[in-house]
Point group: C2
Chain length 224, copies 2
DNA sequence: GGAATCAGGATTGTATACAATTTCAAGCGC
DNA sequence: GCGCTTGAAATTGTATACAATCCTGATTCC
């Protein structure tokens, strides 16, 4: 019997819990400082404590909860301040990766990305926006020459992606200005202009932060 | 059928498994690409699979192993290249934190740190070196105004500290030049010279990387 | 002969039971 | 009244059993 690969198919236990807890945090279901007991989370998601423990470890690695020995998980606050901190670190990592990757991307891959974004700009396949955005960031990171830096960036990509999913439709559409920002990054990279590419990436992430800020504020207002 | 390896006599606990695996990696007991089965690690440390799984998750968060669904843990290579990447990311984070913290440290705390390092310089309590080093980095990070940045730096501090413990005495003594580097950082911070403080931190971490590089090379030679 | 198929073993994922530890409030002595 | 002790409830840490999934190697069909 042949089973399909199914790498990112369904939220397999742990991942489902992780995104569920983040969902609750974003919607204001829980507040920072609250203590999550394993049993309560297990009951909430109808699973045993074992996958809950692993999900809490992952959430701790994401910085969403703080784990204390024999005391359980304390939810960290999440609001504009935390979003700002997330983007500050993400920007630090990605700008550096962009500088390192400038002039390092295979021309074919560069051209493929550029034409994809230009196609998006013409209104084709608008739902592909986030996937393309993620592809661009991943491609740049993986050509920085520093695998660990790429891994750290991946952690933040996953974090932002999880927040995006948890926030639902509020963050759904990619902005047209964002497409231009992406093209700007690609152009600077193809020119081998490290500083320019880094600056373009910083500008892009600053814009993304503003969008995310509006989104979580809308969520909080809607949740009350 | 090979005989099972003798259990390592260590107190039970997740942390010991983590440092034990890193120890094995540093000493060349395992090689990158090798697959660690939970059962084997459990037997090696004389514990059940439950704490082993959590240790592997922590090692994955550290970037020392790669976890694949239903496939187990694949050890990542560890050598000069990986050390260089670790220090590149650590430097990126800490230099930024130092810039942000410059002029932000309470004078009392600054003076306390400075006098501690000056005391160290005179030969007092040489064993306190690493603890003081860690304290300086933690203090700077916690005054950067970005708690998430501080948390990321803490992850790297723990990683380096774990490597240090795993490497044993090779890395035991703090260098006298390192004390001067620390004082330089403190001076620039007290002057509120963000760029200078960041540059001093970068210089310090570059030196630390060189020391660590020599240490793991010595370990590998000794292990063969 | 080569590739797809398919058991059987090996390994991870989850559930549950129990041990160790912490928390918290009531009881006690001062 | 205040602080310390203490014991029970609550919670986390660990061990074990079982289910689900994956890997391996021999088999079969073309």
């Amino acid at each position: 019997m042949k089973t399909p690969p199914a790498p990112l198919a369904q939220p397999a236990g742990k991942a489902h819990i992780v995104s569920g807890v983040i969902h609750g945090l974003l919607q204001g279901r829980w507040r920072g400082g609250e203590r999550l007991t394993e049993a309560a989370v297990a009951q909430l998601f109808s699973v045993s404590r074992t996958p809950v423990r692993e999900a809490l470890l992952e959430l701790a690695a994401m910085g969403m909860v703080q784990l204390r020995r024999n005391c359980g998980a304390i939810l960290q606050p999440f609001g504009p301040q935390q979003l700002s901190e997330i983007y500050a670190v993400r920007t630090l990592l990605e700008v550096e990766a962009t500088r390192l990757a400038a002039g390092n991307l295979p021309p074919a891959q560069l051209e493929s990305l550029r034409s994809a974004f230009e196609s998006l700009q013409k209104g084709n396949l608008p739902d592909e926006g986030w996937r393309l955005d993620q592809l661009l960031h991943t491609t740049i990171a993986s050509h920085s020459g520093n695998l660990r830096l790429a891994a750290e960036i991946s952690r933040y990509t996953i974090l932002v992606q999880t927040m995006r999913e948890a926030a639902g439709r509020v963050l759904s559409g990619i902005q047209s200005t964002s497409i231009e920002e992406h093209l700007e990054i690609l152009n600077r990279i193809s020119e081998g202009d490290a500083q320019g590419a880094g600056a373009a990436m910083r500008k892009h992430l600053d814009q993304a932060e503003q969008s995310a800020l509006l989104a979580i504020e809308a969520l909080h207002i809607g949740g009350i």
